[in-house]
Amino acid sequence: MTLAYRGMDLRPWGATLAPMTPRRAHLALGLFVLVAMLSLTWPLSVWFAEPLPLVLGLPRGLFTICCWAAATFVALLAYDRVLSKDREQEDA
């Protein structure tokens, strides 16, 4: 829902994500993969490399890798949704 208030476009946070175009989705996924690859192959920070303190009982490196696995799943899911909708619209 778009509300006009003193010339400003006050849309809820979610609505700003909704109209994501396939082009933006490609860009976002590309950026995500780049950052993930850098994080998974190179120590972006000491926090990533050092084991202590443990996070949820896991060494920090392992915990970070698990977070990337979960984040990749979510990113791919979102990307797939955007592209699926686009394909459906094209088919229609």
Binding site: V33, A36, M37, L40, T41, W42, P43, F48, A49, E50, P51, L52, L54, L56, G57, L58, P59, G61, L62, I65, C66, W68, A69, A70, T72, F73, L76, L77, D80
Partner: protein, 482 residues
């Protein structure tokens, strides 16, 4: 002796169930090469998820990965890292390959690339590179299965006999049912492995250290460097960041281009199924997490195993667990070995016949004759791999890492064939040959602390691009549908 019989009983039941499922899976599939190699292009979502997941997680998951965690600490994290991103390219190449497969009748990776770039020798070289990676990889699976049976029956079943027994079962169901046999047994094996990995992965740290957190805290207190990335080398020194980073990179790049995995693009029911499989794939990494816990649980265990790869069977044997539990683990390890071994064997046989004989040498076979030829090729391939497994001792993850080097070289020609209109057969061929040679050379004689596959990829891409730009360009070039 009674315990050995119980263990063998559980293993026997598992093998019988796998055989039953594998033999039944081939019902209703057409009597053609497309039926045998691509399952009549009708594989659904569940099957695809387990085929892609269980195919990649092989004997190394139950033996090699805990061995690395036990002996090299944080270095083992890279096993988890490369699989997270490795399958993403398949979201794009899978549907593209599937579409072309339906249109032109392709069932192998090399066939598609050779047809697009108009180069028969390219199909032959890609087949050769695939076999270079497949034979040691299959040998590794056989050795892993034989090894588990030998250790857990305390030598009652020697490695060679164990491997022959397990792969005899694999041969039967792959012979009968082709890719559908691989698919349905992988589903059974994947579910079994997941349950077993989490059960053992939580139980062993709890039994030996009081839980996962206390286990890591104890290891970190005793030797903080052990859990610090990038971990240790096999002789206990510090592994370099360049080796760690390049290993993750090369293995992530090579991941989607394993020919047996790529071939599943031709077996999928729809492009949607392929995309969904890629989206769900990172969740399979959580199956590997408890596998690492198992290895870390063995740190400080007395007595230590003779070899790192033996840590899990060693722990189970020395913890006085019920024979039923040991037998279940044994069956799980066999499931891991078989779920990769069957796919590799099936793919290798189809590659020799389709890419070598039909595309490479330009011979023609009827669909029925081709199916028979693929079946017959299973025998020599299995025999050669068995001899390699019986004769050469191998480090399981080390060999896997080596195998990813040549497989990674398949990425540039496949990507170029699908997405770069200026790519030429000559460029792809030169890049692949030189890239593979560079990889093998630097694996044998390392010059810098980086994965040899990275150097091969650089040479490969440079040659592919530069020679392709010189032309001549063939443009779209596909054969008629068979």
């Amino acid at each position: 002796m009674g315990a050995d019989i119980q263990i063998m009983g559980v293993v026997g039941l598992y093998l019988a169930l796998s055989l039953f499922v594998g033999l039944r899976a081939g019902k209703g599939v057409s009597d053609s090469a497309t039926g045998f190699v691509a399952g009549d292009r009708a594989m659904g979502g569940v099957l695809m998820y387990f085929v892609t997941g269980a195919t990649i997680f092989s004997a190394f998951a139950f033996l090699g990965a805990p061995g690395w965690a036990w002996s090299r600490g944080a270095a083992a994290f890279h096993i988890l890292a490369f699989g997270i991103l490795g399958f993403i390219p398949f979201y794009f190449i899978g549907p593209a390959a599937s579409r072309l497969g339906r249109k032109h009748g392709f069932v192998t990776q090399a066939e598609l690339v050779a047809a697009r770039l108009g180069s028969r020798p390219l199909a032959l070289v890609m087949a050769l590179v695939s076999l270079l990676a497949f034979i040691p990889y299959l040998a590794l699976q056989m050795r892993g299965s034989g090894h588990v049976l030998e250790v857990l029956t305390r030598g009652a079943i020697p490695m060679q006999w164990g491997a022959a027994l397990v792969y005899g079962v694999v041969l039967l169901y792959v012979w009968r049912s082709g890719v559908m046999g691989v698919g349905w047994t992988n589903t059974l094996q994947g579910l079994f492995m997941m349950v077993l990995a989490w059960t053992l992965g939580l139980y062993l740290p709890y039994a030996l250290h009081g839980g996962v957190g206390p286990m890591f805290a104890k290891i970190a207190e005793r030797d903080p460097g052990f859990l610090t990335l990038p971990g240790r080398t096999p002789d206990g020194g510090d592994w370099s960041w360049s080796s760690y980073a390049s290993s993750v990179f090369v293995m992530a790049v090579g991941f989607s281009f394993w020919p047996h995995l790529f071939q599943k693009a031709f077996a999928a029911k729809s492009e949607r199924v392929l995309r969904r499989t890629v989206v769900l794939y990172p969740t399979f990494q959580f199956f590997l997490l408890p596998i690492l816990f198992i290895g870390f649980a063995g740190v400080g265990f007395d007595p230590p195993p003779e070899q790192a790869d033996q840590i899990l069977p060693h722990l189970l044997l020395h913890m006085d667990l019920p024979a039923l539990v040991v037998g279940l683990f044994c069956a799980g390890a066999l499931a891991a070995s078989m779920s990769s071994g069957d796919a590799i064997l099936h793919s290798a046989a189809s590659i020799v016949v389709r890419d070598g004989w039909i595309v490479g040498f330009g011979r023609s076979l009827s669909p029925h004759a081709e199916r028979r030829a693929v079946r017959l090729m299973l025998l020599p391939l299995l025999l050669v791999s068995y001899l390699v497994a019986a004769v050469f001792p191998v480090d399981i993850v080390g060999l896997l890492s080596y195998a990813y080097g040549p497989v990674g070289q398949l990425a540039p020609p496949v990507l170029a064939a699908l997405f770069w209109s200026k790519a030429t057969g000559r460029g792809a061929l030169a890049g692949l040959v030189v890239g593979s040679m560079v990889t093998i050379w630097f694996s044998r004689f390392p010059l810098w602390p980086v994965h040899a596959g990275l150097l091969g990829l650089v040479a490969n891409v440079l040659l592919l691009v530069s020679i392709s730009l010189l032309g001549p360009h063939w443009g779209e070039r596909f054969p008629r549908k068979r």
